[in-house]
Symmetry: C2
Subunit: 239 residues, 2 copies
Amino acid sequence: MASEVPTRTYRRLSVEERRGQLLNAALDLFAHRVPEDVSLDDVAEAAGVSRPLVYRYFPGGKQQLYEAALRSAAEELEHCFAEPPQGPLTQRLARALDRYLAFVDEHDAGFSALLQGGSVIETSRTTAIVDGVRRAAAEHILSHLDVKEPGPRLRMTVRMWITAVEAASLIWLDEEKEPPLDELRDWLVEQFVACLVATAGRDPQTAGVVRAALALETAEGPLGELVRRVLPVVGDARL
Amino acid sequence: MASEVPTRTYRRLSVEERRGQLLNAALDLFAHRVPEDVSLDDVAEAAGVSRPLVYRYFPGGKQQLYEAALRSAAEELEHCFAEPPQGPLTQRLARALDRYLAFVDEHDAGFSALLQGGSVIETSRTTAIVDGVRRAAAEHILSHLDVKEPGPRLRMTVRMWITAVEAASLIWLDEEKEPPLDELRDWLVEQFVACLVATAGRDPQTAGVVRAALALETAEGPLGELVRRVLPVVGDARL
């Protein structure tokens, strides 16, 4: 029975499990401190293993560990975007944003350090990983908009909004996480609708997408609310 | 009279003139190639001076020269934003965007390399310079919106749009400068209006800004056009 007493169990982990454990420890550290302030000793200590063991798994040292952790975070983030293609688009987008914003909330310092640039740990490889996440986000959105061959204007609108969401996330982290997450989420959904509607004015494909999307919304939904709040503001204009 | 024949005149430049000449040569090179592909020899050759002379002005080598060139480009860019506070806001924004987009057009490869991140030449100092330009752009816009103490929602909306404009510029460079600049400019103005109007739905300060701004517009102006193009798209929705 003695063998079942939980002691330092790390010798029993498989290679994959060990790797995952080290990545999780690293992700947790990178989430709360800038990469410059995380050492391999910190990672070893957090994972309850020796420094040489960390080096055995990541012989490239901190840079390799950081990139692996980033890749793992990128996968997690891409899972956030998955959403069944049913129901009003504003609801689908709101649910995906809830998961994305929870990720931002959890990984705050690391998320900022990575996206604000100029970090010692930033390389063309880390940039490529982040760009991959942006591309995945754009593809998810375009697939929900149900267009097979999105034209340049629709694609540019979606990519502009994704960048704007990133900017909003960084500002939100910087401004002590104000406004509350659900308010930020609703606002970002409204910004998406506004950008799409403006593009619809000059692009027939986007106009088709907007018509189809609006047909799924109800007067009680977030778009009905938006219209009721915005109309009084613009109603007096002599346009 | 022999002394008036233009030969290699560089010994006659003042320190400031020489520095400016080297920066211009560097900016021109960085505009057309990624920083990795520009050597100090190239800069010396383009400026028609010796390599040691370049080093005398920039003893920190390429990194120092790059940062100085970037600082000079940042100043040029901030001049683009200056616009007298008269007339409809959409016209002021369109004129500032014209100058900004001309800058993007001129500095294309360098602009992309700098903003896409992961460049060998990117440091916390270059990031700070770029952030300074973003801040300057935001301050210009907020001053045109004529608000003394912009609240968090108005500031976030402006900063999100600025990031979206950057994204659009990079995509535009990447997609062989399509659509034409004047179309891109009008579209970006419309996106700004759309984002501001959406925020006005949840923020009284932004609502006040939108009312005041709309009062300066005319039915024949770009906003009147936008409304006429967008209304048929959203008119059928049961909101």
